[in-house]
């Protein structure tokens, strides 16, 4: 692949995630998954591994697979271990000449399957150093089971297990910073990205992750129109707001070196990101201004730390 990104050339490649899958209309995950897989070189094959998730039930509902590559799903909490197993088999079979060509191993799991129930399996696989990419498509709640909170759900977000009531004000805790936890695994490549603009960021990070030897981790923001409660046509705008408010900063850590991928020309206030989403609606009620203030100060704090890390 030429190192210069060219959207026209990339979209000319046959898609590796076909239509006919059953993800919701407007689902961010379809965009994320096809975007990551697009980074594969044409001649290379992949084995896609998937945790139980919206993605899984939608993209391989018997007898319909939406993948052009081999695919395996076995359970919710074990996608990283599953990917380890495929990679181990590849090494073994390659050694005895039973497999030809380059095969890449890419895991997709949601935030529940990554931040929570799949965390042990992920940590184990990263520590063991398998040559694989683990992609978390982060939609900030358990969407497959009907929008329950995960440790990725941001503070104040309304979910079905953190409802807003006379006492409850949505989720009480801040979002776990999984990307940083993965950085602490000292793996070759960790990046946070999202489908924005012409996809240069998502594409180049996916390419790096796929073609860097060893375990690599991508955390990709993947809005869920149903769970976040915004008009589905707004996907690109919502993502752009997440990035421009620094709620979801784009950065990468390559061999321990932090690099900020994007600094907004004008850092927008967090409320611009929160306002279009029904899950944050209660934050805009009279008397709840403190919530927005706290959300802002949390984002500012995290952003400052990231600027320090990256020396930006």
């Amino acid at each position: 692949m030429s190192t210069v990104y060219n959207l026209k050339r990339e979209v000319e490649k046959p898609t590796r995630l076909t239509g006919g899958h059953r993800l919701c209309a407007g689902c961010g995950t379809g965009v994320v998954v096809s975007g990551v897989l697009r980074a594969l070189d044409r001649e290379d094959r992949a084995v896609v591994v998937n945790a139980t998730s919206c993605l899984e039930v939608s993209t391989f509902m018997y007898p319909y697979t939406a993948y052009m590559d081999s695919y395996i799903h076995s359970a919710f909490e074990n996608s990283a271990a599953t990917c380890s197993g495929v990679e181990a088999a590849y090494n073994a079979l390659k050694r005895c000449g039973k497999v030809e060509g380059t095969v890449k191993f890419i895991t997709f799991a949601g935030d529940g399957g990554t931040y929570d129930i799949g965390f042990q399996s992920l940590s184990g696989a990263m520590e063991r150093g398998h040559d694989m990419v683990y992609v978390c498509y982060d939609n900030e709640a358990y969407m497959n089971t009907g929008i329950q909170r995960s440790s990725s759900t941001p503070r104040f977000a309304r979910t079905t297990t953190t409802p807003v009531g006379s006492v409850g004000q949505g989720k009480k805790q801040n979002k776990k910073d999984l990307t940083e936890i993965l950085v602490a695994h000292n793996i070759p490549y960790v990046a946070q990205t999202a489908p924005v603009g012409n996809f240069r960021d998502l594409h180049s990070k996916s390419y790096k992750a796929i073609y860097t030897e060893g375990p690599c981790f991508l955390n990709i923001l993947s809005p869920c129109p149903r769970g976040w409660d915004y008009p589905m046509a707004m996907l690109a705008e919502i993502i752009k707001l997440a990035v421009d408010t620094c709620v979801w900063p784009l950065y990468e850590v390559e061999e321990g070196v932090w690099r900020l991928s994007y600094i907004p020309k004008r850092k927008l206030p967090v409320e611009d990101f929160l306002r279009p989403q029904g899950r944050f609606r209660h934050m805009f009620q009279k008397g709840n201004e403190w919530m927005i203030e706290e959300a802002q100060s949390y984002v500012d704090q995290k952003w400052e730390r990231l600027l320090e890390h990256t020396g930006a």
Partner: protein
């Protein structure tokens, strides 16, 4: 080739001879030694296996599932809580029709935590779709591992095989053993060439669908039919194995059953102790016999009914509690298997040996004593009892 090995070393040695493509393993007593021995083979370059030392048994079974789906031969070993942690994946392995080989070194399940032998681990997994084969001693543990792949990998079977042996009693006891030559083992198990696998170049493979109601039942029927077909395949493989080893195996072993009036049905190492007790009783003219279940899944119901048809009284001895309040799992299966006999023997259930409670020949003799009473009086009450526990009351068995 004569040697002396513990059950664990025998199983590890069999795995070395098999030279699987992938091993996923996590330590747990008493199966830990198997991946330890195997790691040494890896370290010494004696196998080509990709050895994945995972962070949990859940992941070791996940690795095996993925590796087997990818076209590799995958093996693992575990015990007790480790098997319990794999539980979900046991079903996945079987339903994805992946012939993984798992050495299960049977140990009691928590709680309270206990590291010694009983079958509560694998009995809990009896409905997961795995073929289950149990060993009486190290020799059988070794032989069963070698037979696992030719059984499981058969195209119309494609089921994972759990090869079980008794924790510590078998796994840690050094006994005599006859080993096969490695080239004989390799030839016996052959190459693994599945029709479809993830890494196949010619066409992709998708594994593990979301199966809606319109298909799920059909897939379960396929699995059930495969388990039915496994019975004859197990016997075929046993016959082939006899040719290379001289050792004969069936679905179960009948010991002095030709004219037995009183019989035991049980699993594993207790069979050896029972054989010694039976020999002694036979010297005293008591027509005692034993059926040692080797294959529990598929359950040899019809065959077992035939074997027990001529007896007067049978004690089914379960080394695991089922908490059904109606007897252990082996009892439920055995009693059900005999339902269609025109004349059924009296039958009782004794749950024994839990958490490593030792079983002596004297204990077995006592059971036969009770069977003799039952045969004489016809009085089986209470049908379901425990043996070997301290009690304020006298034991019934």
């Amino acid at each position: 080739m004569s040697s002396r090995l513990s059950g664990n070393e025998a199983v590890a040695y069999a795995m070395k001879q098999i030279n699987p493509d992938v091993m996923g393993a996590f330590p747990i007593t008493p199966s830990t030694e198997i991946p330890e021995y195997f790691a040494a083979y890896v370290a010494n370059g004696e196998v080509n296996t990709e050895y994945v030392a995972v962070e949990s048994e859940h992941s070791s079974m996940s690795v095996c599932i993925a590796a087997q789906a990818a076209g590799a031969r995958a093996v693992s070993a575990t015990s007790s809580c480790g098997l319990a942690l794999m539980y979900e994946l046991l079903y996945v392995a079987a339903s994805c029709r992946l012939p993984i080989t798992l050495a299960c070194v049977n140990r009691a399940l928590s709680g309270p935590i206990n590291i010694n032998h009983d079958y509560s681990d694998s009995m809990g997994a009896r409905d997961s779709g795995w073929i289950q084969i149990y060993a009486e001693n190290n020799q059988e543990a070794y032989d069963n591992i070698i037979m696992a792949m030719p059984i499981g990998e058969t195209p119309n079977i494609r089921l994972p095989v759990m090869s079980c042996m008794d924790g510590f009693i078998t796994s840690h006891a050094v006994e005599n053993i006859e080993l096969l030559e490695t080239d004989v083992v390799r030839k016996f198990i052959g190459e693994y060439n599945p029709e479809h696998y993830l890494l196949k170049k010619e066409n992709p493979l998708a594994v593990g669908p979301y199966d809606v109601s319109a298909y799920y039942m059909e897939h379960k029927v396929q699995e059930a039919e495969a388990m039915k077909a496994a019975k004859s395949r197990i016997l075929e493989v046993a016959a082939e194995f006899e040719k290379i080893s001289g050792r004969r195996y069936g679905l179960f072993e009948e010991y002095r059953m030709e004219d037995a009036q009183l019989a035991l049905v049980l699993i594993g190492s207790t069979a050896g102790t029972a054989k010694a007790a039976i020999n002694k009783l036979r010297e005293n003219g008591i027509k005692a016999g034993l059926v040692k279940i080797r294959v529990f899944r598929p359950f040899p119901g019809e065959e077992l009914a035939r074997a027990l048809a001529g007896t007067r009284a049978v004690a089914v001895m379960d080394k695991s509690e089922g908490f059904s309040a109606n007897g252990g799992p082996l009892f439920a299966e055995t009693r059900s298997a005999l339902y269609d006999l025109k004349e059924r023997p009296y039958m009782i259930n004794i749950v024994y040996g839990l958490g490593g409670r030792d079983v002596k020949t004297e204990d077995i003799e006592k059971v036969f004593g009770r069977l003799a009473d039952i045969a004489r009086t016809g009085e089986t009450h209470p049908v379901y009892t425990h043996m070997g526990q301290r009690s304020r009351e006298e034991e019934t068995a």
